[in-house]
Each structure stands twice: as structure tokens, then as C-alpha cells.
């Protein structure tokens, strides 16, 4: 991994939301590059470097912004798979959703999501939420790999 500023993965099927999210990120001077996938299956391919992402050499994303309601494989399922993989589970995941359904929230946190953001209708509020999540995980926070590696991670050393 040579890139000093890592990428953000945005899994979102709705192009409008993609555009709004990207606008928000650019507007707030987020320097990270954003890779966009349009459904859960594609997100999995990206994360596990398979399918059309088999030759991807960009390493793990700094943060994954995951929409819950997506075609093929939904966000909750992607989260489940991601968190059950020993290498991927350290990637922070922010769930993005239109839903205020409690069960989604509870399930997301149980599966290990780092944050849960209800996409506000108010764009300013939305921008705020994305900004906070983005700044926190991609800019302000030290990415997890640079931390001292705990003993139980030794079996899965990263390059």
C-alpha cells in the first residue's frame, strides 16, 4: 500500500444519492478518492478483490459507506460478510439509510457497524452527517493498520 490517503468505498444503488454524497464529500474538501459500487454484490467483489475488481491493487478502503437497501445483496448482508472476514473486519463501516427502523439500527450495531446515519432529507444535515463520518474515519482518525497490531492479529499479517 503506497497511497498515503486511502480510498473511501461508497456502496449505493441510487445515482441521486451517489451524486449527493459525492457532492457533500467534495464540498467539504474530503481529499480521499471515492470508489462507488451500485449494489451489494459489487461491494463484495470490491472488498474481496474478485470479479471485475480481481486486479484491484488499491488496498483496503479507509471507510465503507454502506447503504442498507440495495439490490441483489443488501447492506446488512455485506456488513455481515465483511465483519466475519478476519482481514476485512477492521475496516470501519458507516451504515447509510433512509430508514428510521430500529431493527436495522440494532442489527447494524450488533454486526459491528461503526456508525449509523439516517440520511436526512435536509441536505445540509446530510452533508453534516457525511462530513462528520468522513472526517472522523478518513481524515482525523489514524487508520487502524498503523496502530500496534494486537497479538491475535499476528496470524493474519498485512502488507
Amino acid at each position: 500500500m503506497t497511497t498515503s490517503i486511502r480510498r473511501i468505498l461508497l456502496a449505493e444503488d441510487d445515482p441521486n444519492d451517489v451524486e449527493l454524497t459525492l457532492t457533500a464529500l467534495t464540498d467539504h474538501a474530503m481529499v480521499n478518492e471515492v470508489d462507488v459500487v451500485n449494489d451489494g454484490a459489487e461491494a463484495m467483489d470490491y472488498l474481496f478483490c474478485r470479479g471485475k475488481y480481481a486486479g484491484r491493487a488499491t488496498g483496503l478502503p479507509a471507510v465503507v459507506l454502506l447503504d442498507i437497501k440495495m439490490p441483489k445483496v443488501d447492506g446488512i448482508e455485506v456488513l455481515r460478510q465483511l465483519k466475519s472476514d478476519p482481514q476485512l473486519r477492521i475496516v470501519p463501516v458507516v451504515m447509510l439509510t433512509s430508514s428510521r427502523e430500529e431493527r436495522d439500527l440494532v442489527e447494524s450495531y450488533q454486526l459491528g457497524a461503526s456508525a449509523f446515519v439516517v440520511k436526512p432529507v435536509d441536505f445540509a444535515a446530510f452533508v453534516d452527517a457525511v462530513k462528520q463520518v468522513g472526517v472522523f474515519w478518513a481524515v482525523v482518525n489514524e487508520p487502524p493498520p498503523s496502530r500496534p497490531i494486537p497479538a491475535n492479529w499476528a496470524a493474519h499479517p498485512r502488507q
Binding site: 457532492t23 437497501k69 433512509s98 427502523e101 432529507v121
Partner: protein, 599 residues
């Protein structure tokens, strides 16, 4: 009881007999005394008679002597012939009287002597006169003339006279004593008779009383017996008593009815004939064991075991029965009380069927309801995601448009953008409220003690933005604890206080009162404001979904708040209502049942 009575009677009769015997003995003793005195009197009389006869005999002999001496006629001597013999006879008797103590010995001796002298004088003169000569006659007369004979006779009379006097005196004394004894006897007899009669009368009364009591007791016993017989005869339950050999000794009317046979056909017959063959051994075993327990009575059959009886015509039928045992005169008597429960069983069976049907129906409905609920939930989920997404895009892109091209839009264009934006926001609020309302019907209520005061405080913190730049006077009175879901109840309080703040916006100051009290097992909470109020004609509409009494440009809102309040309160088993007058404020109430949670 009987033994006691008989001892009583024995002592009673003993008493009577004793008194009677004592009385009779007394009377008898008095009688004996009288008889003895009479005997003494008779002796005295005899003695007196003898003395008089002795005197008379000698006097008569003297008279005969004188007559013969004067006339020499032997005829005069006729009376004299028996005199000496008779005199000796009387004297001999007089000796007996001496021995009996009636005559003193000296008197007797004197009489003996004088009598002999007299007899000798008489004999000598008569012998002289009998010689027939003048001289002898002269001599005899001379002897008479010398008064020897007269003197002796006078002596005799002088001796006898006091004796007679004494005898009469004694007789009088004895007669007096006899009379006294007679009186004593009479009095004793009368007293004895009176005492005996009194005793008899008392005994009679006692016995009569006793008999009356006994009759009363017997009557009572008979009444009791009749009552018991009446009960046994008229009861709805069949009653059968059997002896130790399990043979029927009592069979009431109801038993006849139930088993369809007559009492005379079953008396003395074994009970077995009323028990289905397959149960007979079990029954015997049960009775044996029951007998060993010594219990007075208990229900027959046990738990799952159904008891059955057999009618005379062979029909088997279900029964309910109890058995009891009593020991009467060394013989054990078992009594079975039973009831034909054919009808009840039928009813139970029907009930069970109804219940099963009902359960089936409930299950079907539940499945239907669950499906409907699931559909609703899916619908809500879809609405919250799919409906909100495009809305969000509308508002977001309008905002972007405003930012991007705001400067080139004229006033009209800007107003359009604003209107689109506001409409989108309102729509979003509506969807949110609607979703919340639908969730209210589905979530499970938690139960906790909730302080109304705490709810008010929470709501006031949440509503703080509404109170900026205005004067609000809070009058918070007494507030109880209620039992319910804290989250939902907080929602109620926020809605009510929010409304109060909203509709009193034009007042300065706005006055909002909150208090609660207990009434008829309910906690009634009241929120009053001095705002614009509402027309009571529309009070019913107030709590309906999307029902609004004000235009959106007067007071913002979706018309879901009060609907939520009512839904939440109703789910807690309470009710919500409101009172108002236009322009004079409104009062909202909600009442929750007092229910204490178990801690």
C-alpha cells in the same frame, strides 16, 4: 340415658316403698298396743266378774241357808248345792289372777280364808238343821243369830269392795291408755297415709314429667327421622347404603330413578349389579382400602378415572360419586351418594367442541392478523425507505439548485424553489409521523413506574427551542406516578406540552398548567393552556389522524400528534379527551388506570 332413667325410677319406687312400709309398721305397732291394752282390760273385767260372782255365790248360799233354817224346806237349799264347788272354782281362778298380778296375794289369801270360813259356817249350820231335830234347828239358828256368818260375810264384802274399786280404777286407766293408743294409731295411720300419698303424688308428677320429656324427645326423634327420610327421599342425588357384605340396605327415590329399578327389587341385593363388570374388582379394592383409611367420607374415583354406573336395563352412564362410612351397632355401613352426570358430560363435550372451534378460529384469525401485521410492517418499511428517498432527492436537489443557480433566479423562481423545499419537508414530516403512529400500534408495551413529573421535565427540555423569545409561565401542580411505557408516555407529554406551547404562541405570557390527581382508580393528568382554544363542536375530530382545526399557515403540524396521544393512552387502557372554548385556552386530559408494577 335409659340407664339413668331406670336408676331414677328404682330410687323413686324404693322411696315410696320405704315410706309405706314405715307407715304400715307404725300403724301395726300402734294396733298391737291397743290390742294388748284391750286384753288387759278383759282380764281385769274377768277378775272383777269373778270377785262379784264369788260374793254373789256366797250371798246366795247364805240366803239359801237362812231360808232353809227358817222353813226346814229343802227346796231353799237347791241353790246351795253347787256353791262349794263353784266357790272353789272361782278361788282357783283367783289364784291365777294373783299370778297375773291382777290381785294382791294378801287379798287372795284373805278371800280364801274367809270363803272357807263362810263355807264351813254354812255347811255346819245346814248339817245341824238337817238332823231334823228341834235342838239341832235351835242350835243352827243360834249360830246364825250369833252373827258369825254375817261377820264373815261382811269381811268378805269388805275385802272385795276395795278390790272391785281397784279393778274399776285400773280398767278406767287402761281404757284411757287404750283410747290414747287408739288416737296415736289413728294419727299415725293418717299421717302415714298422707306422707305416702304425698310421696306418691310427687312420684306421680315426676313420672308424668319424665314421660312428657320422653314423649317430647321421641317426637323430636321422630321428626328428625322424618326430616332425614324426607331429605333422603327428595334429594336429587341417588343415595345407596350397603352393609359390610356390600348388600343394599337403603335405596332412595333418586336411586330408583337413576338406576331405573324399584327399591323392593334391590333391597338386600349386592351393590355389584350397579357397577359395570370391568370395574367390580377395582371397586371392591377401593372400598377395602377406603375402609382401612378410617376416613369419614371422600369422593370416589380419582383424577382421570371416570366413574360409571349400570342401570337396570344395562345402560352404562357416567357418574360422580362420594362414599362415606359409619359404624352403627358394630356393623359398618357404607353410603354412596352419586349423581348421573350424562348431561353434564354432554355439555362438557359440547363446550370442549366449542372451545376447540373457537381456538381454531382464533388461530386462523391470529394467522390472518399476523399476516396483515407483517404486510403492514413491510409496507411501513417500504414507505420509510422508498417513499423518503425520492423526497430526499427532491429537497436536496432543490437546495443544490438554489445554491447553484440562486443568483440567476428572479423572485418568482426563488419562491418556487422555496415552495418545493417546504412542501418536501412537510411531506417528510408527515411520513415520519405516520410511520411512528403505525409503530405505536405494533410495539410491545413495557411496564414501569413512571413519574409524570419526570416526563414533564423531559418534555420541557425537548421543547426548549419552542420557548425561545417568549414568556411562558409554567404552573406545575401535584403529579403522581403512573404505570406504563416510559418512552411512549414521554411522547404523550411532549405532544401535549408541545401543543400547549404552540397554540398559546400569541399570549404574553403564555400560561401552561400541568397537574394530576387520582380519581376512581385512575390517574387523571391535565394540561391547560391559555391559547387560542378550539370549538367544542370539533372536539371529536381533534384526536383523529390528519385532523386539523387550524390552517397550516396559522399553526404548523401534521395532525398526527393528538392521534398518537390517544393511541398511546388507549394502549395503556386509558382515555384522552379535551375541553375548550374558542380563544379561551384548551384543557387536555388523559387518564391511566392505577396499576402497580411488582418490583
Amino acid at each position: 340415658m335409659a340407664r339413668e332413667a331406670s336408676t331414677k325410677f328404682i330410687s323413686l319406687f324404693g322411696g315410696v316403698a320405704l315410706v309405706t312400709v314405715a307407715g304400715v309398721a307404725l300403724v301395726w305397732w300402734a294396733g298391737v298396743r291397743v290390742t294388748r291394752i284391750n286384753e288387759q282390760i278383759a282380764q281385769r273385767e274377768d277378775s272383777e266378774t269373778r270377785l262379784i260372782e264369788l260374793q254373789n255365790t256366797l250371798t246366795d248360799a247364805e240366803t239359801a241357808q237362812r231360808g232353809f233354817l227358817l222353813t226346814q224346806d229343802e227346796q231353799y237349799l237347791a241353790p246351795y248345792a253347787g256353791v262349794p264347788g263353784r266357790t272353789h272354782e272361782l278361788l282357783a281362778r283367783l289364784d291365777g289372777d294373783v299370778q297375773a298380778g291382777l290381785v294382791r296375794k294378801d287379798d287372795n289369801d284373805a278371800l280364801h280364808r274367809l270363803s272357807e270360813q263362810k263355807l264351813a259356817e254354812l255347811d255346819s249350820t245346814i248339817q245341824l238343821a238337817r238332823q231334823g231335830t228341834e235342838e239341832s234347828a235351835q242350835a243352827a239358828r243360834a249360830r246364825v243369830r250369833d252373827n258369825t256368818g254375817k261377820r264373815i260375810m261382811d269381811d268378805i264384802r269388805a275385802r272385795i269392795a276395795p278390790l272391785l274399786h281397784d279393778e274399776r280404777q285400773s280398767q278406767r286407766d287402761l281404757a284411757r291408755r287404750r283410747d290414747e293408743a287408739t288416737i296415736v294409731r289413728t294419727i299415725t295411720a293418717i299421717a302415714g297415709a298422707v306422707v305416702t300419698l304425698a310421696f306418691l303424688a310427687w312420684a306421680y308428677l315426676r313420672i308424668r314429667q319424665d314421660i312428657a320429656q320422653r314423649l317430647d324427645a321421641e317426637k323430636e326423634l321422630e321428626q328428625g327421622r322424618q326430616r332425614l327420610a324426607g331429605i333422603v327421599g327428595s334429594t336429587m342425588d341417588a343415595i345407596i347404603s350397603v352393609d359390610e357384605q356390600q348388600n343394599v340396605v337403603l335405596f332412595n327415590k333418586a336411586a330408583e330413578r337413576v338406576f331405573r329399578c324399584s327399591v323392593k327389587d334391590v333391597m338386600g341385593m349386592p351393590l355389584e349389579r350397579f357397577i359395570p363388570e370391568r370395574y367390580r374388582n377395582v371397586h371392591h379394592e377401593h372400598v377395602r382400602r377406603f375402609s382401612e383409611t378410617g376416613m369419614t367420607s371422600r369422593a370416589m374415583g380419582s383424577g382421570a378415572m371416570n366413574l360409571s354406573g349400570v342401570r337396570a336395563d344395562g345402560e352404562e352412564f357416567p357418574i360422580d360419586a362420594s362414599i362415606s362410612q359409619v359404624q352403627i351397632g358394630g356393623q359398618k355401613l357404607y353410603t354412596v351418594i352419586l349423581r348421573d352426570i350424562t348431561d353434564r358430560k354432554k355439555t362438557e363435550e359440547q363446550l370442549r367442541q366449542f372451545q376447540a372451534e373457537l381456538e381454531q378460529r382464533v388461530q386462523e384469525r391470529t394467522v390472518e392478523l399476523a399476516a396483515a401485521n407483517q404486510e403492514l410492517e413491510a409496507f411501513g418499511y417500504t414507505v420509510s425507505h422508498d417513499l423518503r428517498a425520492p423526497l430526499r432527492h427532491v429537497t436536496s436537489f432543490v437546495d443544490l439548485l438554489d445554491k447553484h443557480a440562486g443568483s440567476v433566479l428572479d423572485e418568482k423562481g426563488k419562491r418556487y424553489v422555496r415552495t418545493i423545499s417546504e412542501a418536501g419537508r412537510r411531506m417528510a414530516n408527515l411520513i415520519d409521523d405516520l410511520l411512528m403512529l403505525s409503530r405505536l400500534g405494533r410495539v410491545t408495551l413495557s411496564q414501569a413506574q413512571v413519574s409524570l413529573r419526570q416526563l414533564v421535565d423531559d418534555a420541557m427540555i425537548q421543547l426548549a427551542p419552542e420557548m425561545v423569545d417568549r414568556r411562558v409561565e409554567w404552573k406545575i401542580g401535584e403529579l403522581q406516578e403512573v404505570c406504563g411505557d416510559p418512552v411512549l408516555l414521554r411522547n404523550v407529554m411532549i405532544n401535549l406540552l408541545g401543543n400547549a406551547l404552540k397554540y398559546s404562541r400569541g399570549r404574553d405570557p403564555a400560561i401552561i398548567e400541568v397537574q394530576s390527581h387520582e380519581e376512581d382508580g385512575q390517574i387523571v393528568c391535565m394540561v391547560r393552556d391559555n391559547g387560542v382554544g378550539f370549538d367544542m363542536r370539533f372536539a371529536d375530530k381533534l384526536f383523529g389522524v390528519f385532523q386539523r382545526l387550524h390552517r397550516a399557515d396559522e399553526f404548523e403540524g401534521t395532525g398526527v400528534g393528538l392521534a398518537s396521544v390517544r393511541r398511546i393512552v388507549q394502549r395503556h387502557g386509558g382515555k384522552a379527551w379535551a375541553e375548550s372554548e374558542l380563544d379561551r385556552g384548551a384543557t387536555f386530559y388523559f387518564a391511566l388506570p392505577v396499576r402497580r408494577t411488582r418490583s
